[in-house]
Symmetry: C2
């Protein structure tokens, strides 16, 4: 049994509005009216046509419909990768918000590669999407001109992006880091380390800023030796905590750029015979799924990813529908999640 049996043996073409019209003995205009429940049609014929259409398995061609209407009801979604918790939480929010509207979603993955990202967005334009959302982007300073050239709204979200773009939604990273740091301070810690990432990651600077503000607000002097760079991965956390612990006066707590870094810290501390949270308090950022499964379960800061998706979509739809929109970025609050890696200082 080959393909032929399933496909080619059925040379019957796809049902069109024309074929339905013929079968119903009316013109396509009438069928069109029935399908789009326009007023000017008798209930009887309408019902009859609908029944016939149903029976013939007729599904309107979006292609033709869109060509006529000069719209596509389609948006493009370019993501770093699908295998990422952040993306996995945002995309459903966008998709669900779109469900009611009848929009379709084109998906493309760019793996944080500039050329791929550019290609993906160009392909979307070729496909005549009405708007584009990019989740994590490495392109800098290109989107505004593309948006203008194409007349297609582009909204940027995600941990990596061109923050100069006028249409963005982001988490309050500064506030989140401040929350984390103040939590540790409230537990009595005064020597608090920070493991970040290289400077070019914009959001990292926000988080570092939040850390510094928290210290400042509480009259704790900022000490550069307590700041070490990481790499947003476990390795960086592992190495970072080793460095911090080898200081003459090591910190009693550490704020990490993200959960992966924090998990690296947990390992590094364990390897160095330092107990968490007894000897060292640790806090991450992101609340990745495995945060609750590490030993001990990680205290962290959670972003409201579904809300980010919703807001980004709302922004995009507003732009598509020519609604006025402030170009100020939408900034969403974060939430402290206290688990077991944060405890009072031993001395207290």
């Amino acid at each position: 049994m080959s393909k032929k049996d399933h496909k080619s043996s059925k040379p019957t073409r796809r049902a069109t509005i024309k074929s339905v019209a013929q079968r119903a003995g009316v013109t396509i205009t009438t069928v069109s009216r029935a399908l789009n429940n326009k007023p000017d049609i008798s209930p009887a014929t309408k019902a009859r046509i609908l029944a016939i259409a149903e029976e013939m398995g007729y599904v309107p061609s979006t292609l033709a419909r869109n060509l006529a209407a000069q719209r596509t009801y389609t948006i493009g979604l370019a993501v770093r990768t699908i295998a990422d918790m952040w993306v996995a939480e945002v995309v459903p929010a966008i998709e669900d918000g779109l469900r009611e509207t009848g929009y379709g979603v084109f998906l493309s993955t760019h793996y944080l590669n500039a050329e791929r990202e550019r290609q993906a967005v160009k392909a979307f334009h070729g496909q005549q999407v009405e708007g584009i959302i990019v989740i994590s982007s490495v392109l800098q300073g290109e989107y505004l001109s593309l948006q203008q050239e194409w007349g297609t709204p582009i909204v940027l979200i995600g941990p990596l992006m061109d923050t100069t773009h006028p249409y963005t939604v982001l988490s309050d990273d500064e506030g989140g880091a401040r929350l984390a740091t103040e939590h540790l301070i409230s537990l009595g810690h005064r020597r608090i380390g920070h493991i970040g990432v290289p400077d070019w990651v914009i959001r990292a600077q926000e988080r570092l800023k939040g850390y510094r503000h928290a210290l400042q607000r509480n009259g704790i002097p900022y000490e550069p030796s307590l700041i070490v760079p990481g790499d947003a991965h476990q390795e960086g956390g592992y190495q970072g905590i080793r460095d911090l612990l080898s200081l003459p006066q090591p910190p009693t707590a550490v704020v990490c750029f993200n959960d992966l870094t924090a998990i690296g810290v947990l390992r590094g501390a364990h390897a160095a015979g330092v107990r968490v949270p007894k000897d060292l308090a640790v806090i991450g950022f992101d609340d990745v799924p495995m945060a609750r499964f590490v030993e001990p379960p990680l205290s962290t800061v959670r972003q409201n990813t579904p809300a980010i998706g919703q807001q980004a979509l709302a922004m995009l739809l507003d732009l598509i529908n020519d609604k006025e929109r402030s170009i100020a970025p939408v900034i969403l609050p974060t939430e402290l999640v206290v688990r077991e890696t944060s405890a009072p200082t031993p001395t207290r």
Copy 2:
């Protein structure tokens, strides 16, 4: 600064083949030839037209092109949810395979809801996709007729599906479970429990079958009391192991339907004061990311998800291009991942 500045200030309509033709003083036919580098055109006019098109920022309308050509170079991808490791591993494989071909991907999430799934697939048909891949499906016995009615190839993959559909790619669940069970047997275990899921999950039966075959091959009698149902979640594992441990002769090892079940077992065993792997060996299925982060790291069986995606795509493209295709399901091997929850029996 409002949206207007970015979009509406550009009231110039999108360039069309017609406007390019006018500007070049030729007919659209000639322009079409120039753009699609057809033979019958003089190099001179071709160059001139191309230059003008470029200058006008002309991009052909995919909509019109597809309508005329009756092709869309687009496939539909209906997934259970994006926030699932299995999906997250398969989708990139499909996307990457498609990248070279110039096909676009429509994404839709159905959350294992029959009506949503039906709608998603119908929407794809409306969008005139050339093929559809459904990742995890609850629709039974519908796809074959849809495929025939629409003339659109449909390939099913994922842990849940209509196995009667002619075009499917799946993991060798039976073999995987056999692998897991034989691993435990080779460690000296003879009383091996099994925590499964309700019968209606087809793939679960395969896994149970693999478990039984392994016992049989090794001359170990099958004992129904060692088989308890689970729910594919932690709760089922937790409860299941409590039940098994309360047996007069509890098992020394347990094969779980999936990793979540196994993690539940780990908790249940811990709560009951049973040490893993010293008193009880545990093995899961799927190798979810957190499998390596639980304590102790979980032994499990991994599916070759990227290969599943690749095979599904290859199958779909073959069907689209009217290549002959066996209707036999493609079955891909699994791999044993030994970590620390499986150890020899204490008595040995």
